[in-house]
């Protein structure tokens, strides 16, 4: 039986009817059209489906869409302000942090959360925070470099 829910995705209100067995990731991509959240492992292991749920990173492949009723979701599309990429995103570009970019949405959101909660992270803190985000292309170093650079610029 379909259930009516309302969720806010990237600032826009979305009233939807969802089946109890619909997964949030699929609804965000196929019905809201925010394709930034990627379908990877679909079992919580890779992090590429990450979204911010009421401001905190979660795996949207591990949530039912009905659970999002009344909650606020930010996907990677919601990080730029007025169409301008965040400083963190610019630094990911200038550090060549990504190659195929499949992991990028999850890493952008995970790093965004980290820098918000801990503006002064050590390299180990960044590794620890992004430990659940798999990247098969880059070896992680240019990703860590960019996050450290973003923290440093925010401090200066």
């Amino acid at each position: 039986m379909k259930l009516p829910i309302t969720m806010i995705v990237n600032g826009e209100t979305w009233p939807l009817d969802v089946e109890p067995n619909e997964v949030l990731l699929d609804v965000i991509r196929n019905r809201v059209g925010a394709k930034g959240a990627k379908i990877g492992c679909e079992r919580g292991d890779c992090g590429t489906c990450t979204v911010l749920f009421d401001g905190r990173s979660i795996r949207s492949c591990l949530m039912l869409a009905v659970e999002a009723d009344g909650h606020e979701i930010i996907t990677v599309e919601g990080i730029p302000e007025n169409g301008v990429l965040s400083n963190l995103q610019d630094l990911f570009i200038s550090h060549n942090s990504f190659q195929c970019g499949f992991c990028a949405p999850g890493i952008v959101l995970g790093a965004h959360e980290l820098l918000r909660d801990n503006p002064n992270p050590s390299r180990h803190d960044v590794q620890h925070a992004l430990a659940g985000n798999l990247c098969r292309c880059t070896g992680y170093e240019p990703i860590l470099d960019a996050v450290m650079a973003a923290a440093e610029e925010a401090r200066s």
Binding site: M1, L3, E19, P20, N21, E22, V23, D26, E42, R43, G44, D45, G47, T50, F53, R56, S57, I58, R59, C61, L62, M63, L64, V66, E67, D69, G106, G110, E113, L114, Q127, A129, L130, A131, G132, N133
Partner: protein, 296 residues
């Protein structure tokens, strides 16, 4: 891949309503907390509930509170909540150290401590630590409320003392009298997001009362009482550590799986106890590594 199984979803406003709903629906109803176990099981077609009862709309279930000489954890307390709680830092930093080893932020922000022990996977990280702390599990069911000592909680892989229609309403954790020291050692295949290959929590009090529990090396996380009896009341010396380590094979029953062989697990448990005992004592005495420092 979508979830193929169809089920009804109900959001409840009180714990009594949750009990009523799952009692009425029978054994094929499930409580939904963080969903980090439940949703993968649904997707894998491993469980087939008729009804999923979401408790996240109930107010106040994510409280961590100090009640006399106990810390109380509500059913929606997540591993992330343990990491940021001042009460946990001040009174039971071992819970912080344990939570810090669980998965990664995207999971920890959702996964509840109580869901972890309800799933009762042999490698569950909360198990050994709640065991050494002599935690009481508060349960509510159709017949009313009862309390289950954590040592009677785990019955087998995915099996707990929870009876039909019952839910867990909280954990009551006695704070060991200060000074106490504790350590959780978790071996993973890599530093990052991985389930435990073997885990041990050691707790020591001011009068050298030792408590030791292992995880991921038997069907359930379990206290090592023979090890504790050898240690209790004695000053920790190299000879005493060797005697305790000698009892490890009798305290565990590891198996071989994709994460490790049983031989490796058995050996590493000895190493972890050898390192864990002096570290717990050093923490008690104020000279140990900060909580959260990995010794393995």
């Amino acid at each position: 891949m979508a979830i193929a199984h169809q089920f009804a979803y109900q959001k409840v406003a009180t714990l009594d309503e949750a009990v009523e709903a799952i009692t009425r629906a029978g054994p094929d109803a499930r409580i939904l907390a963080g969903g980090t176990d439940l949703v993968p099981w649904l997707r894998d077609d491993a469980i087939h509930p008729d009804l999923v009862v979401d408790i996240k709309a109930i107010d106040g279930l994510n409280t961590i509170s100090l009640e006399g000489d106990h810390i109380f954890l509500g059913p929606l307390v997540t591993f992330s909540d343990l990491l940021t709680s001042d009460l946990v830092h001040d009174h039971l930093p071992i819970l912080f150290e344990m939570a810090d080893t669980v998965a990664s932020p995207g999971i920890r922000n959702r996964a509840t401590v109580i869901g972890n022990i309800c799933s009762a996977v042999p490698s569950c990280d909360a198990g050994p630590t709640l065991l050494v702390l002599d935690t009481s599990v508060a349960v509510l069911g159709p017949a009313g409320a009862r309390t289950v000592p954590i040592e009677e909680w785990f019955l087998g892989p995915h099996k707990t003392a929870l009876a039909g229609g019952e839910i867990v309403t909280g954990l009551s954790i006695p704070i060991p009298p200060p000074p106490h020291g504790a350590i959780y050692l978790k071996l993973q295949r890599y530093q990052g997001e991985d389930l435990s290959q073997a885990g041990v929590t050691v707790l020591v009090t001011g009068d050298n009362d030792f408590r030791v529990a292992f995880g991921a090396v038997g069907p359930i996380p379990a206290r090592a009482h023979a090890v504790e009896e050898t240690l209790n009341g004695r000053e920790l010396t190299d000879e005493l550590i060797a005697a305790a380590v000698g009892l490890v094979p009798g305290a565990i029953s590891p198996i071989t799986d994709m994460r490790a062989t049983k031989e490796y697990r058995a050996r590493i448990c000895e190493v972890m106890l050898e390192r864990g005992l002096p570290a717990a004592v050093a923490r008690r005495d104020g000279t140990g590594p900060a909580y959260g420092t990995r010794l393995i």
